[in-house]
């Protein structure tokens, strides 16, 4: 045990003496969270929108006036042709188009259900969502005033259509995404690089020749990164709650337990990489390109998995980050309990055991 502790101590020396890596370890999660946080807290003013009025009746004019009166919107253009809608999204900074159907007032007077179409550019999902809900609010307010006077029930329903990102992955979803990325980066890349470094410098030779159990050598190398990751996790959670206002809706302990499980998964991947590589560059490349990039693309927080080709959807199932992402989203955002994530937890656990067993089996107690 003393051996083990002195080993862990030595690892901490390595970490704390390498100032640049240290900065990366603690700076990266903060920078990421703050960056995504800005996307979240940005207040929208004077968003450019366009109106496509097919009705040209008093009602459409009145609603347009109300939209114009709101400081959130800046009506830039009045469209005359349906083809202009796509054109204007592409050629200008227009965030949203409101389409009034023909005979709006007539239909309303007749008591028929009528729809105002709101088309939003959802490549920036937060803005799109915020803007369309404002339009929604304006139309509802207008109607409630109207009905109060005439006693006719609600009939105009704004029909919101999101283009470019219909899933509307909002910034709230980025917090779980950043968590999975940061943990993966620190645990997998740092562990693999630090073990391979010992191989490169020749110190692994000396360690192997010592009576210290070779498996403990690599296990003890993971301990500092395990602790640093948990620390990082706490920082991320604190930042997201107090800086971004993304609350933890579920059980904090459940969230921590699940995260620790994922950390161990990532550590196992790091071990596996280190047992099959001989140089730091190779370890870094495998971590970044082989593991991290798929984790970013196929986890679901950047691009919706449901829209991917079947083959990619299938591949995404073997990416541990995907399952962790689902778990965090369920616990943190949706506030669900263990009962609804036991399946994902089990999958992650299975993957971890498999990876750990494989990496220990691949670890060589001899050279060559």
């Amino acid at each position: 045990m003393k051996q083990f502790l002195s080993f862990v101590k030595k690892e901490f020396y390595h970490v704390f003496r390498d100032k640049k890596t240290l900065l990366l370890l603690f700076g990266l999660p903060i920078v990421q969270i703050v960056l995504f946080g800005f996307a979240l807290t940005n207040e929208i003013k004077n968003a450019e929108i366009a109106i496509f009025d097919l009705a040209h009746d008093p009602m459409s004019h009145q609603i347009t006036e109300r939209i114009k009166a709101n400081s959130t919107f800046l009506v830039r253009q009045y469209l005359t042709h349906p083809g202009d809608i796509e054109q204007i999204f592409k050629s200008s900074n227009t965030k949203l188009v409101v389409v009034f159907p023909s005979e709006l007032q007539t239909n309303w007077a007749r008591g028929t259900q009528t729809q105002i179409q709101v088309i939003a550019d959802a490549s920036d999902p937060n803005t799109a969502q915020t803007l369309s809900s404002y339009i929604n609010l304006i139309v509802m307010q207008y109607q409630s005033e109207l009905t109060r006077r005439t006693n006719i029930p609600y009939q105009i329903v704004p029909e919101v259509r999101m283009i470019y990102n219909p899933e509307l992955k909002g910034a709230t979803n980025f917090v779980p995404g950043v968590m999975s990325l940061v943990l993966l980066l620190i645990c997998m890349m740092m562990t693999s690089v630090s073990i391979v470094k010992e191989k490169e410098s020749g110190t692994m030779e000396v360690l192997l020749v010592s009576p210290f159990n070779p498996f403990l050598v690599i296990i003890s190398k993971t301990v500092p990164y395990l602790l640093i990751s948990i620390l990082n996790l706490i920082v991320i959670l604190l930042l997201s709650v107090y800086l971004l206002g993304v609350d933890i809706n579920g059980n904090v302990f459940l969230l921590m337990a699940e995260s620790t499980l994922f950390i161990i998964t990532a550590l196992s991947m790091g071990l596996l990489i280190s047992s099959v590589t001989e140089s730091q560059q190779t370890a870094m490349l495998i971590s970044l390109l082989g593991m991290l990039v798929p984790a970013i693309l196929l986890t679901g927080f950047m691009f919706p998995i449901e829209n991917m080709p079947i083959a990619l959807q299938w591949i995404s199932n073997i990416i541990p980050s995907k399952w962790y992402y689902i778990i965090v989203k369920s616990v943190m955002i949706k506030g669900l309990g263990f009962a609804s994530i036991w399946k994902e937890t089990l999958i992650l656990m299975g993957m971890t055991l498999f990876l750990l067993a494989l990496s220990l089996k691949k670890f060589k107690t001899h050279l060559e």
């Binding site: 003393k2 051996q3 002195s6 080993f7 030595k10 020396y13 390595h14 003496r17 390498d18 410098s201 020749g202 110190t203 030779e205 000396v206 360690l207 192997l208 020749v209 010592s210 009576p211 210290f212 107690t365 001899h366 050279l367 060559e368």
Partner: protein, 304 residues
């Protein structure tokens, strides 16, 4: 016998390099044994097999009576190993490195301080300096201290003096002598032939094969030819001239002299040479019979 190698062969699967070809030798307890040979001769492979890091393809190696393949865990507790490259943590200080290796072998610096004292005392003034910032000679002393901290029964030192200046090298060999007197068996390798005479017994090794194995004096005695040292004011001209002579078997430069052997070294050959040299116009010519050094023996034993 502390170390026994029997018909060891090793071919690296990845590169296909045949590193060791049927190597057999023994090292008795308490001996200072040297493996002498250039880079790529197979010295490191022998060390790695004996330190249980590498399995041989065939043959058997035992260390302290234990088989290196089946009893590697026990062997690892009893040996000290200093690999060819500097294998300490450059970002840890001198003291932290030593502490770490002591713990690794389940001991403390205090427990075995007596053994390393003479060596460690020289680097102790720098104990708070990162190991990476030490000079070559000091790194080597620290590495030796770390390899000794658990009082091993056998010390394996793979090229400890490579790239180290002549002064530090001399000091290092003094330290090894002292350790030998403590009863530790030492196996050391070096590419510097002049260091061979500091060992009790040596194996000359080249291309994975042992050329000769004996005490340095024994190897020198086995040199089959009479050896002459010659010099003149124009050494490179003399070298070319001697190479062209039919009576000359071999000529190599050795410091300020050229070492020459003759095909038929009878009494008259030196006189004949003197006449030839004079005719060719070399100034300040000098010739004397000399005793061969290990390097002469190595060159003679190398397959051409």
């Amino acid at each position: 016998m502390d170390i026994i190698l029997q018909n060891i062969c090793k071919t690296y699967t990845k590169s296909g390099v045949e590193a060791l070809k049927d190597i057999s030798f023994e090292v008795p307890k308490g001996e200072l044994f040297g493996l002498i040979g250039p880079d790529g001769a197979g010295k490191t492979s022998i060390f790695r097999i004996l330190t249980t890091l590498l399995y041989p393809n065939s043959g058997k190696a035992t260390v302290l009576g234990l088989d290196t393949q089946t009893h590697f865990k026990t062997i690892r507790e009893k040996i000290g190993y200093m690999p060819g490259r500097f294998s300490l943590y450059q970002d840890l200080t001198v003291e932290e490195n030593l502490n770490f290796f002591a713990r690794l072998f389940n001991t403390t610096i205090a427990q075995n301080y007596e053994l390393i004292k003479d060596i460690y005392i020289q680097i102790e003034p720098f104990k708070n300096r990162p190991a990476g910032k030490l000079s070559g000679g000091m790194k080597q002393k620290l590495a030796l201290s770390c390899a000794l901290i658990h009082r091993p029964e056998i010390l394996f030192l793979d090229e400890p003096t490579t790239g180290v200046d002549a002064v530090s090298r001399k000091e290092f060999w003094h330290m090894l002598k002292r350790l030998k007197n403590e009863g530790i068996t030492i196996m050391v390798s070096t590419p510097y032939m002049d260091e061979a005479t500091l060992c009790e017994r040596i194996a000359l090794i080249q291309n994975g094969q042992i050329l000769s194995i004996d005490s340095p004096e024994g190897i020198q005695r086995q040199y089959p030819f009479r050896l002459f040292a010659v010099k003149s004011s124009n050494m490179s001209g003399l070298l070319r001239f001697l190479r062209a002579l039919k009576t000359v078997q071999s000529v190599f430069s050795f410091g300020e002299y050229h070492h020459v052997t003759f095909l038929n070294a009878n009494a008259s050959v030196v006189d004949e040479l003197k006449i030839d040299i004079k005719r060719a116009g070399f100034d300040q010519f000098e010739i004397k019979e000399t005793t061969p050094g290990i390097e002469d023996c190595f060159i003679q034993l190398m397959p051409s």
